[in-house]
């Protein structure tokens, strides 16, 4: 197998895949795409890989896949020998896909605010920030009640799943979009737990967590 990731370093959606492949110890090659300022994701050669003109794209031998959530599921099902990252249980599968959809909503709000402030995209900053806060409030409550019930992760299993990977990057990058996480303590504790998963790696803009209190 030869995996190639079409990748932009500063993209949280690309980072999701780098992160999971690093955790699963799956070797891959990077094909850098000049998303900014070159807008290479709208170039003809890239649109032939993904007509939607979006990063990331992953090629596994001849198979070409796009959409970070779909690719996370693919990588887990194919390369995770533990079966934990995308379990077969129907209820857990539904739970994970639900949070993959939330991850897309986080991209549409938190990532949009970051693109507007940092990369001059013509998005509505205030509306994006408000939308992100609404999601973060719900996430924080979900995680707070989870902690009380002994659940550390977004989904029911006692270990992280692709749901946690999918939601993590644009929560962590929210401050670049002017969205503070100060009011979401349970959300912040969860980001620390994600950063302590064995095999965790950083991207530009995300720093490692300190050691856990014992």
């Amino acid at each position: 197998m030869t995996i190639t990731l079409y990748d932009f370093e500063l993209s949280g959606n690309c980072y999701k895949l780098r992160l999971l492949m690093n955790i699963l110890n799956v070797p891959y090659a990077i094909h850098p795409v000049d998303f900014f300022p070159g807008r290479e994701h709208k170039a003809d050669w890239f649109l032939r890989l993904n007509p939607f003109g979006q990063l990331p794209v992953l090629k596994d031998d001849d198979l070409v896949l796009s959409d970070s959530g779909a690719i996370l599921a693919y990588l887990a099902k194919k390369y995770d020998t533990s079966g934990q990252w995308f379990p077969d249980d129907p209820a857990v599968t539904a739970e994970i896909l639900r949070w993959h959809a939330v991850a897309d909503d986080i991209s549409a709000t938190s990532s949009a605010a970051r693109l507007a402030l940092g990369y001059s995209y013509p998005f509505d900053i205030e509306k994006s920030q408000k939308g992100a806060h609404r999601i973060f409030r719900i996430l924080d409550e979900h995680l707070w009640f989870g902690e009380k019930a002994g659940r550390d992760w977004l989904c029911a299993p006692a270990h992280p799943t692709t749901a946690d990977i999918a939601c993590f990057p644009y929560v962590m990058l929210s401050e670049e979009g002017g969205i503070s996480r100060q009011d979401y303590p349970a959300l912040r504790r969860w980001t620390d737990r994600v950063r302590r998963i064995p095999g965790f790696m950083v991207m530009s803009g995300i720093f490692p967590a300190g050691p856990a209190k014992t």
Binding site: V33, D34, F36, P37, G38, G118, E175, S204, G205
Partner: protein
């Protein structure tokens, strides 16, 4: 209502866009010194800049129809303008014209901090091992060795020389760790140019410029220039390397407090490694810059 910029800042040339990234016949809007500007390029490829009224980003425009224009200069791949009376030539970067260099913009990135704070971060070597771990520095090689700083009267710029640092991966073209020598110039209150040993050719230096566009007193856009000696990497590779570095600096910069740069020597506690920053702050003070800084109490 934001305060009017000081006269020195008002009369400076300010960077506003990478010229190639302005689309011919399309409007791009931006902010400079609290004023909204509109920009485009004419059919001849030349940039046109003016005070925006009701123009929106992405509107069509015929550049010839714009009569009330701001002064424009193109240099180093970028478009520069001035809101007052441009007094001086833009600072020189002679290396940019060398035929075998790969020159490129690396993106114009908005940062929630004042332009002078961003210049100062660019001058700092102390953060390399902690922020750019395994690229521009690594523990235990954290010492910033003694270096020289002067303010060149003749060129009116801050100059830091003999800056040495052990770097695991000094550039895209680096294949092993090396002790790198830096020269920093601050030839403009909101611009800095750095020269560093080139892994590919010992006799020459890679040039990296950071040109800050002060949007408001507490926000700016960083326009990054690379002028490299690198015969193997693609532009995409070289941009990626620089963006990786800059992406690491961004959250650090945005967490600085206060966002304006304090010029009072007692406001923050410098260490020996901050010699260039001290010279830079003093130089800004002497020039009478008050935009984006907290001036020294008189």
């Amino acid at each position: 209502m934001p305060k009017a910029p000081d006269p020195i800042t008002r009369d400076l040339w300010h960077v506003v866009a990478a010229t190639d990234e302005l689309k011919i016949g399309l409007i791009e809007t931006t902010l400079l010194l609290d004023r909204r500007l509109a920009m485009t390029r004419g059919l001849d490829g030349e940039p046109v800049v003016w005070f925006a009224t009701d123009e929106e980003n992405g509107d069509d425009i015929d550049a010839d129809s714009v009569l009330d224009r701001l002064p424009v200069k193109t240099a180093y791949g970028y478009t520069w303008t001035c809101l007052g009376t441009p007094s001086a030539e833009l600072f020189p970067i002679p290396e940019f014209a060398e035929a075998d260099r790969v020159n490129m913009s690396c993106g114009s990135i908005g940062i929630h901090v004042s332009a002078p704070r961003a210049v100062e971060n660019f001058l700092d070597m102390g953060h390399f091992p902690y922020v750019h771990t395994d690229i521009l520095g690594s523990e235990p090689h954290t010492e910033v060795k003694e270096y020289d700083v002067e303010v060149s009267e003749e060129r009116d710029e801050v100059l830091a020389t003999k800056c040495k640092f052990m770097q695991p991966r000094a550039a895209k073209s680096a294949t092993q760790a090396m002790e790198v020598e830096y020269v920093y110039r601050v030839p403009h209150p909101f611009c800095s140019v750095l020269y560093k040993s080139c892994p590919e050719d010992e006799s020459r230096r890679d040039v990296i410029g950071i040109f800050l566009q002060p949007m408001t007193e507490e926000t700016c856009r960083a326009h990054l220039l690379q002028s490299m000696i690198d015969s193997t990497s693609t532009i995409t590779d070289l941009r990626r390397f620089q963006q990786t570095i800059f992406g690491q600096d961004k959250p650090i910069l945005e967490n600085q407090y206060p966002k304006k740069l304090p010029l009072d020597p007692r406001a923050e506690t410098p260490i020996r490694a901050d010699k260039s920053a001290i010279a830079y702050r003093r130089w800004l003070s002497q020039k009478g810059i008050t935009y984006g800084v907290i001036p020294q109490a008189s």
